[in-house]
């Protein structure tokens, strides 16, 4: 029997197109819509302007749930490679690009290559990845865009500060260098 740790991501049969009923479902029975990325982009831009990315984050959580089901075990106890395999597989399957995970000292950084362009500051993608990681990690997680493709994973309470450094055009090494492990009380 293959352990969840070593099982690869299987995209086969993820979508079922029901022509008679005019619907598309995932293999978990959830109905989905196939949208053009240039339709979704303006919707996300509007959400960013209104400061409410709840729907995008919710989408990310759904993707995280599917990745966790695909992994098939305790996500937090799995290796980073296994989690990234299934999260990247789900994101690729849905057209969001390919995901990699990097460690910069104590900081975890997600890199999303080939993602569709949604909004200039990539806050839509940050919300999406935040949703994915929140589900996989089992607690609230924020992803802050720091350069063209990367998002640093931080506690939501410091996301605003990290985002302000990023807007000052500080590079990733500089941003991570300004963080240190929280001291125990």
């Amino acid at each position: 029997m293959t352990a969840p740790e070593t099982r690869g991501f299987d995209p086969a049969g993820y979508f079922a197109f029901d022509m008679a009923r005019g619907s598309v479902h995932t293999r978990h029975g959830e109905r989905v819509l196939v949208l053009a990325s240039d339709v979704l982009g303006p919707l996300v831009s509007t959400a960013v302007r209104q400061g409410d990315l709840t729907a995008v984050r919710m989408l990310g959580k759904r993707i995280g749930e599917d990745a966790a089901r695909s992994l098939g075990g305790d996500v937090k106890a799995a290796t980073p490679e296994a989690v990234t395999t299934h999260a990247s597989g789900m994101l690729s399957l849905l057209g969001w690009g390919t995901l990699t995970l990097e460690r910069w000292g104590h900081a975890l950084v997600l890199a999303l290559e080939g993602a569709p362009s949604l909004d200039n500051e990539r806050l839509g993608l940050a919300a999406l990845l935040g949703g994915v990681l929140t589900t996989l990690g089992g607690r609230d997680v924020a992803c802050v865009p720091v350069d063209g493709t990367r998002f640093v994973i931080v506690h939501p309470s410091i996301a605003e500060a990290v985002w302000s450094w990023s807007k000052e055009h500080r590079d990733l090494a500089s941003i991570v260098g300004r963080l240190s492990p929280e001291q125990a009380a």
Binding site: F9, G13, A16, E81, S92, R103, P181
Partner: protein, 149 residues
């Protein structure tokens, strides 16, 4: 043409019609539904003929078409972009500190995950005691706070 000859012709048409009863063709491979134009309409009404009997269901209403979901399901082999996605594996060679980062899907989950020493000056002790699980790594990242001062 005599009446008997007309009946023979009609019976021949009936036999031909039974051989081609489908009005709708569903092509699962192409995901297409098309009409079968070879079926001829029946015009006779003679009660003595077999035509008076109910014919096998020739024209199926669209709603009775079995959903071709299985045929339309995406398979790995039919989707080259998905199939090309390379999942990370433990065979991905680690990138030594200072080396250029690999590009493309091979960068997915390098094994081991690379510490970028030069960038953040991670101490040796931290590398040796590096946690192994995703949960531990995540907790470590979430515990980061801005340095005071």
């Amino acid at each position: 043409m005599s009446r008997i000859e007309k009946l023979k012709v009609l019976l021949a048409r009936v036999e031909q019609r039974r051989a081609e009863p489908r009005l709708v063709a569903v092509s699962s491979a192409g995901g297409q539904v098309s009409a079968n134009t070879n079926v001829e309409p029946t015009r006779t009404r003679e009660p003595q003929l077999e035509l008076a009997k109910p014919l096998p269901p020739v024209a199926q209403p669209p709603s009775s078409i079995p959903p071709p979901s299985a045929a339309a399901s995406i398979s790995t082999s039919s989707l080259p972009p998905v199939a090309r996605t390379q999942a990370p594996s433990s065979t991905v060679p680690p990138v030594a500190p200072g080396e250029a980062q690999p590009t493309g899907p091979q960068r997915i989950a390098p094994q081991p995950v690379v510490p970028f020493d030069s960038a953040v000056r991670t101490t040796s002790a931290a590398r040796i005691q590096a946690p192994k699980t995703f949960g531990e790594l995540l907790e470590q990242s979430l515990a980061l706070r801005p340095k005071s001062g």
